[in-house]
């Protein structure tokens, strides 16, 4: 899915974190954003995910506008249908490894069988099948 960011700005009080950023991320490609700390990499990601509300600009995902300051559109994060890996991982410590993988799939109302199959696939891919019932808390 293509993601298009146009003229995105984000101000924290008066200091700009993003200043008129425009970029198109094409489908099927991996894009790396590089920059010194404080240059707005995380803010851009958080704006796309909907965790931060941009001050102005537009964000499109496929042919859907998920954010537009002009048209007062702001789709909440849980309806944007995205995935995000957090800097601090954002894992749920009270769930096992397997449940951490399955939670987003359950939320999307996948059948139990489908969920299991997908999580099994993911666990096998990273070689963590033996660890799947381990709880993260310990």
């Amino acid at each position: 899915m293509r993601c298009k960011v146009s003229n995105l700005s984000k101000f924290f009080k008066k200091s700009p974190a993003l200043n008129d950023v425009s970029a198109t991320f094409e489908e099927g490609r991996i894009t790396v954003i590089l920059g010194p700390s404080g240059s707005g990499k995380t803010t851009l990601l958080r704006c796309i995910a909907g965790l931060e509300t941009a001050t102005s600009g537009d964000i499109e995902l496929g042919d859907r506008t998920i954010f537009s300051s002009g048209r007062e559109i702001n789709v909440p994060p849980h309806r944007r249908d995205l995935g995000m890996m957090f800097q601090s991982y954002g894992l749920w410590p009270h769930m096992s490894v397997q449940k951490n993988i399955e939670f987003p799939l359950q939320i999307k109302n996948l059948s139990a069988g489908e969920t299991r199959k997908k999580s099994q696939w993911a666990l096998e891919m990273v070689g963590l099948v033996g660890m799947m019932i381990a709880c993260l808390e310990n």
Partner: protein
Amino acid sequence: MTPAKIFRLSVAPFVVLVPLLFLIGLPLAMIALASIRGGEGNVHHFTLQAWSDLFKTRWIWETAFNTFGVAFVATVIAFIVGTPLAWLIARVNVPHRNLLNFLCLSPLFLSPLLSSVAWDMIGSRPTGIINFLTGGLFQPEFRLRNFWGISLIMGFYFSSYVFLYLWGAFRNVDPAIEEAAAIAGLGPFSTFLRITVPTILPAIAFVGLLIFVLALGLFSIPAVLGWPEGFFVLSTRIFFLLSIPPVNWGMAGAMAVLFLPVILFGIYLQRRLVRKGDFTLVSGKSARNIRIEIGRWRWPATAFIWFYWFIVAGLPTIVMAVISMTAYAGAYAKLSFLQYHKLLEYELFHKAVQNSLITSILGATLAVVISLGLSYLIQRLRPRWSPFVEYLVSVPLGIPGVVLGAALLWTWLALPLSSLVYGSLAMIIIACITQFLTTGVRSVSAVLVQIGRDVEESAWVSGATRMTTIRRILVPMLLPGLQSGWILMFILFFRELSAVLLLWSSRTITLPVLTFEIWREGSYPRLAAAGMVETILIGSVVLLVLLLGSLWQVFNRFRSRHGLQQRAFQESVSD
């Protein structure tokens, strides 16, 4: 404007602020009104009569001096006792630290009413234990029933607060800054004085103000040790004005209003300290903790902690237990369970036990739910009006229980439909929840703060709504913290006396009120028995909840493991 935005701007503040103002703001306004209301029955007019009467009394300045003096001295004593304890447990390599930690916290579980009665028996009469043991060393006799005695016992009571807060502060000090000081050439002692103490100074100021404000309003210790000698502080004086005929609402209201600005200013200062952000109550990162070796001094240090526990918690409990088994005061030769049997025959006692259990279990549950909602609002939703909510929530902490009780009584008598609530257990529950709202929100907030936002955010990005996130991520993660919050609320509600003292009726009497009434009748052995029952009931419920909590954890582990084993078995069969 979208409907969601309209909801956020109009309905949501209304739903949160109106009940809060109703619970906290209205009673305070009503008690202020009571101080300027004149006339009888339905005839109203406004007058400053009560105010001028108040300043013409002989006792107003004496009461003010006693209140502030006792609160100040008690705060100082609490620091003198509590600071070394906190430092020893947090930073020094003392043996059996977990046990010693528990010993330092145990005074928190003692009811101030019961421990002050125990102290009264230890150190007040010619027949008291201290005078008995010292055999006339003190002439005419050693007495706790005076300014210094009350301050001392209050200081003991609050020393566990100092321990609790400074323990956290000492632990949060990054050992690296002390190491840096050592490398810069400072000795251990000057490092402590010039580096460690200034670092925790905000925490010291915070807990100092907290204790001072709480001490200004504390009721039971000055009631037990001061009242019989005609020594009054704010809270006991207000109760006196409202419980001994002729009841004087005007003067009681005026006294409450007189002290409220001081208390609100204390709360304001305290909040300023926290907002400056140069110290955190809970640090998320577990800093590397280097413990100071004190060599041979470990044993005197351990002995000091045991001695503290014995004086503040052990001795009063033992004294209560022994006295509860005597037939009449001073009859130590023949111990029996007579007092307990007599209590069981007493119908009011059954009622009181039942009411106390209902109000504290129901009230604590409600309080935790409300606190969770308010903490979530203040910390996570952060609407524009949340500072106002925060301030409102921090006010009840400083309102003396007696003032709150009087204000609620006055408010509910004036309200239409009040008969539904007044004289019912709901009244008691409302009083308790209001009185401890600050404590509840603070304890839940402290747990919520520790949960990083990323955990919630990753659930949202994964497609979970806010409610799903709260239900499936936040609440399960908070559960152990909410459990301790519940236990704290339960203990506070169960033993609450001062807020309930003006609100009870024979149908809604609680165990602490019954204990206080027995004290007023002067039957010490029976009082001690009721006190022991209270202590045992609190202890058993707390143990039961802890047990249920760990059973739940074990059950959850077992369920997930069992389910997975079954699945593994099925899969191996199908292969």
